[in-house]
């Protein structure tokens, strides 16, 4: 139970620190900023785990996870899942979720004539679909999966390997034509 309590507490600390960082220390690389905060919180949680008693001073024996290394590992796992599957995903969705931003745009307009054409021009708070795709291309350029040469977009070797892996997975799932 100590693992659950400490992982929950650290997740709350992480969300508070991320909120403060996003509001008062804005940067273009917010995912990186979040990951650094996560690493800081991991260290904090480990130190707290070692500094506190097994029962935290109030837990009954039936709620103690034994052996101790399992309790510690579970705490790290719960917190890591809360970050990569929770906080980071929440950020990704809020910042880039395509379908979600369609809903936010529809919610934010007074017009009743919302259709695909309106969304092409007004997607992303009025920036349009071209801006949205430009953001995707910039993301691929930043992660060095593609290169821009003149007016051509080209896969890098890292991009080729990634594309091959994704193609293999999609073929396995029968989402691509079988070759």
């Amino acid at each position: 139970m100590k693992a659950i309590i400490l992982a929950t507490a650290t997740t709350i600390v992480l969300l508070v620190v991320v909120t403060i960082a996003f509001r008062f220390h804005q940067t273009a690389q917010r995912a990186r900023q979040m990951t650094l905060i996560y690493l800081g919180c991991i260290i904090l949680s480990a130190l707290t785990w070692f500094a506190t008693s097994v029962d935290l001073g109030f837990l009954p024996g039936s709620l103690l996870i034994q052996p101790n290394w399992l309790d510690f590992s579970l705490m790290l796992f719960f917190f890591t899942a809360a970050f990569f599957g929770g906080a980071l995903q929440l950020y990704n969705l809020a910042d880039r979720g395509f379908s979600l931003h369609i809903l936010i745009d529809v919610e934010g307009t007074d017009s009743h004539a919302v259709d695909a054409d309106w969304l092409v021009a007004n997607y992303g708070g009025g920036k349009g679909l071209t801006w949205m795709y430009g953001k995707r291309i910039e993301g691929l350029l930043e992660t060095k999966l593609v290169d821009r040469k003149a007016e051509t977009i080209e896969l890098t070797s890292k991009g080729e390997r990634t594309a091959d892996l994704l193609l293999a997975v999609r073929r396995f799932l029968r989402l691509e034509p079988q070759s």
């Binding site: 599957g85 979720g97 809903l103 997607y123 291309i137 896969l155 029968r174």
Partner: protein
């Protein structure tokens, strides 16, 4: 040698999660509706996992320490689920992934304008609108599209997160 009850619980959780992944993949390969299939197969495997954990606890100590294994099982399974689902949806729906795959299929390079012609189009929006209408987030009538109450709640919740985190208009 007896296995620690929590360790045994984690093994049970892992086994049932693997069964869920297997079922989900089988569903995807046989063209089941992904979202529905995902939820149903996870719900079924979670129920089976809980029954197994309870049975294990009854066998181990007549259920005297049932609360902790159940809590650990539910949390661990939920953690595995939230790590699994985004990975699946990235492969299924991400425009960046679709761009990489298109580039690979066309010899590794394409004019930038061709990519925009392919991905920044009305067709892409139309495709997503159909999914959102099908999932009950949007409703379509003669005047156009409008949010359902479910869609409005979802949009407002994320618009709130955008404001709190000062993310600006995203997409």
């Amino acid at each position: 040698m007896t296995l620690d009850p929590i360790l045994a619980t984690l093994i049970v959780v892992a086994v049932w999660f693997l069964v869920f992944v297997y079922l989900h993949i089988v569903g995807l390969r046989s063209r089941q509706d992904n979202a529905q299939w995902l939820v149903r197969s996870y719900a079924a495997c979670s129920a089976a996992m809980l029954v197994s954990v309870v049975a294990l606890s009854m066998w181990h100590d007549s259920g005297q320490t049932l609360l902790l294994p159940i809590l650990i099982a539910v949390l661990t399974s939920a953690c595995l689920f939230v790590l699994y689902v985004p990975a699946v949806y990235t492969i299924l729906t991400s425009l960046s992934v679709a761009t990489l795959i298109l580039l690979r299929r066309t010899g590794g390079r394409m004019p930038e304008t061709s990519l925009y012609d392919r991905f920044a189009t009305r067709g892409i929006i139309q495709q997503r609108l159909c999914v959102l209408v099908g999932a009950g987030y949007l409703a379509e009538d003669a005047c156009g599209l409008s949010l359902t109450s479910r869609g409005r709640a979802f949009a407002r919740a994320f618009a709130f997160i955008q404001r709190v985190w000062c993310l600006g208009p995203g997409g």
